[in-house]
Amino acid sequence: MEDRQAVLVVGGGIGGVQAALDLADSGCQVYLVDRSPAIGGYMARLDKTFPTNDCSMCILSPKLVTCARHPNIRLLTITEVQSVTGEPGAFTVQLKRYARSVDLTRCTGCGDCLEKCPVRLPNEFEGGFSQRRAIYRLYAQAVPNAPAIDRANCLKFTRDRCGNCARVCKAGAINYEEKDEEITLSVSSIIIAPGSEVVSGAVRPEYGYGRYPNVVTSLEFERIMSASGPFGGHIQRPSDKKEPKKIAWIQCYGSRDRSIGREYCSSVCCMYATKEAVIAKEHSRQIEPAVFYMDMRAFGKDFDRYIERAERQYGVRFVHARVAEVREDPETRDLFLRYATEQGQRSERFHMVVLSCGFVPPEQVLILNRRLGLPLNSFSYPEADLWEPVRAGRNGIFLAGSGQGPKDIPETVVQASAAAVKALPGALNYDAVKIADVQTEVAPMVFTAPRIGVFVCHCGINIGGIVRVPEVVELARTLPGVVFAEENLYSCSADSLEKIKNRIKEYRLNRVVVASCSPRTHEPLFQATVAEAGLNPHLFAMTNIRDQCSWVHDDPDRATEKAKELVRMAVARVRRQEPLVSVRLPVTKAGLVIGGGIAGMASALALADAGFDVYLVEKEAELGGVARTLYRTIEGDDIQQRLEEMVRRVMEHQRIKVFTGTTVRQIDGFVGSYETTLSNNERIKHGVVILAIGARYRQPEEFFYGKSEQVRTQKELEEIIARTPERLRQVRSVVMIQCAGSRNEARPYCSRICCVEAIKNALALKEINPEMDVYILYRDIRTYGFKEDFYRRAREKGVIFIRYTPEQEPMVSFAGDRLQVEFFEPVLETTIKLTPELVVLSAGVVAQEGAGELGKMLKVPLHQDGFFLEAHAKLRPVDFATDGVFFAGLCHYPKFIDETIASAQAASARAVTVLSRDFVAAEPYQAVVNPQRCSACHMCENLCAYRAIEVKLVDERQGRYAAVVNPALCKGCGACAANCRSGAIDIKGFAGENIFRELTALFS
């Protein structure tokens, strides 16, 4: 395909989609292959996502749509990889594309064929709770939106009968003759992002899945809750369609379970089960959710807060117990759970049971791995090196997402971006990069009378469940200038966007209002849609009737009233809106990376390998960051050795300029053209910034730390183990205290790495002296993913794990000069005193000093725990809201080395999407001066923080002066406009006149 080198992405879930978008936005040609008739993967089946409770489809859908219409992406659905031959840079891939039997170029997605198909089959996407036809669409918002024929069940193919679909299709899109197709592609690299599969509900027969109708899997429950699901978002039992009152979630189903050969932890179930419990409770206050768990693994950013809120605010009951068995009462179909808590055996009645199913490598991944020749680890997932976390065992092939091991959405996205930057073809010609079309011409229709179209979104039940959408549409129809108004189930779905475009043409609309969610997330999508229909994207207004209306007001009358008024205001605003044109700003093709630890170095290397100059600034005299004081990973890697290799690569890289012992003094500019002054007074020019300033190990203040040599931190113990292990040979007893000073009021978050550190050190101690008593006092052991295996090994080696609760924290004291630890043993129900020689504290990780200062310099926000705050917790994990600034590693949140490197590479991938272009489009919202009104008072000149406005001689003949705006520098903040004493300045798109019109419309 064409003259550029291409990349193949296998798997169209969120991982594959993100990788494809990053590559395509960097100017690369991408083939995105998926086995299904539509992309979207598992994320499309989820109802909401933790910890923000964002509607999954709402945040995914814009990405899918962008993917489908990206000029650099070619979607190949119902397609499988057959074989791969060749070498990195020149792979030949054989694909088999199965016949859809529906012509994608002809199908309008009207759905007439679906209704006329006589075949009824269980709908797998909906967990079998509803039916689909033999010609079907995977889900309502499917991308591509065209249905596919399931030939194995279609009467035309099985018995040569029927043919209804072809008869009713007005577009003539049905093609029974279509043949499967062999496709050969030449690609320079391959990303595999096939996702995981969810374990079958039947692996543990004692829970009754398949026999008892009211035992469902967690994925089935997502569909039960979903507004677009089989029950329309009403939570009901499959057996009798009644709303269940008591629902139990059984954790670790098919995970952490040696008896079925799944020893790893699936990493995401604790959080999604809690989310499902919370959302269930939101659906109906009657519901009493209970979660039966082994360890609550809330190890991510804001996860512990989410669990806390679930318990306190929503009344979710967390039961620390393993369920032995589920039995059904055959009459009521209720379920009895038999379980043992620390307090003994119990049996409890529930109305419904949800199995929190873990991940397994799907059959397809195994086949794919065999076809690609990738080595697997002992859990049958593809193996990856900790220091090259997205590189598969074969050169030129990269891994992303849960196909590589259990992962949540943000980690999948991080890995996908990382894989994208690694997969960039070496000789990519960035000059050829297509940038998204920026409207540079003003459509002539502006001067005609306004013809406004209003589209009001239901957002499933998110809006429609509270706001009476039809009433809002009725009101919109009566507003001046409105010629058309209608409602959409999901305005952002591919079919709705297509509909909006058609309406614009059909009704000759010249202005559009969408009343739906937040313009912060969805305005670009709708603007692009409007632009595709030939309108200037600024002849558009969006109003937020979800995040700031239906989600925050529970009174349907008043919420509807508010929504109506918001629509009234938006229509008034858009009526006089003028078309705007973006200015193009040049891009300096270099990056600044702040912080020279593992994250900073990995970012710099990825960026430099992609072909861009990098300035790497480190405040210490040496590169390496906190890793310089670490010795071994739990997997056994020698950190110092690997770090040395990394430092050498950085120092030797021709494109990287390293500044050690240097800090950043001042950063001026904006995306594309920054100018930074360093502490050595050197000035550097760059187009993007990556923050990788790391975090710090916390110095504990509790448990006599610092007062006694016998109380140490895990990090200090690691150093002793590495350097002077002989000192430990005589030690008989060690007590480790987890969460020391963490997960409390002062630091209400989990530091993620401490459990693994403690187990790593405990295993090392057992190695040094197998007779040593090692106790780990913990709240929850959070050895997620494959690290669970080390937890098992530690128990096998005789490390003693004892759980404590925050109400009964262990106490450390001195009996004479003997160290004494006192704690409550929950199983024996007794207090135990130990006199160890060493107490080791897992004291947690805290945010880096100076993060706030840097944040202020770049105008990027901090999270409440002091780490940086990403633009979106799920889908933009390494981006800031501010264009051109990205971040990586521990300044986001505590991380392991492989996670740190993946996030660093991800930040670079995002940076490349900026650097690969020659221009970025400036904010169209800019100050504009009316020289007739300007009195040249210089007030604006003094106020402008960007030095973007200046009083100049504008008319030489008359000697007239007026303020003039520099569009490259103006950010459209409006400081000048608001302070202009002559009222001569306005902000395009936010003109004072427009605001007055909104107010008048509201109060008239």
Binding site: A881, C973, G974, A975, A977, G992
Partner: protein, 139 residues
């Protein structure tokens, strides 16, 4: 029906508007009395906008910006703060009620603060009763 005040909220795009969205994603309930108007920066809120809102019939005007130091446009919120001091002193010298205009810094991470602010401000205006400004306009 009981008296319900109408509030106009000028929310800065980068902090307070995002904070209001976060109140939404966190499902924090607050009274539906405020009509938000998104502006790029609190510093862009001309005093005339506030007066116009009050004269058109708003019972209160809320302005939300980034915390001092956090302004996306370097110093727009400091300009807002200065302007509001001046604005209030003019209101006072005219004998007008300054309690009907509220300026608060609410960040993108402070959904709760946003919800609490709207709740408190609504309650305060409820107790004050309808604004006399609109009648002034009519005269």
């Amino acid at each position: 029906m009981a008296y319900e005040p109408k509030i106009i909220g000028f929310l800065c795009n980068w902090c307070t508007y995002a904070g209001a969205d976060l109140a939404g994603t966190s499902r924090l309930q607050y009274p539906p009395n405020m009509r938000p108007i998104r502006v790029m920066c609190s510093g862009a809120v001309d005093s005339v906008y506030i007066l116009r809102a009050l004269l058109e019939g708003a019972d209160g005007v809320f302005i939300g910006g980034c915390h001092p130091g956090d302004c996306h446009y370097v110093s727009g919120n400091y300009k807002t703060r200065r302007r509001m001091v001046l604005f209030n002193s003019i209101m006072e010298s005219l004998g007008l009620d300054t309690d009907r205009v509220l300026l608060r810094w609410i960040s993108a991470a402070e959904g709760k603060r946003f919800a609490d602010t709207v709740t408190e401000f609504t309650e305060k205006l409820r107790q004050k009763g309808p604004s006399p400004f609109k009648t002034l306009w009519e005269v």
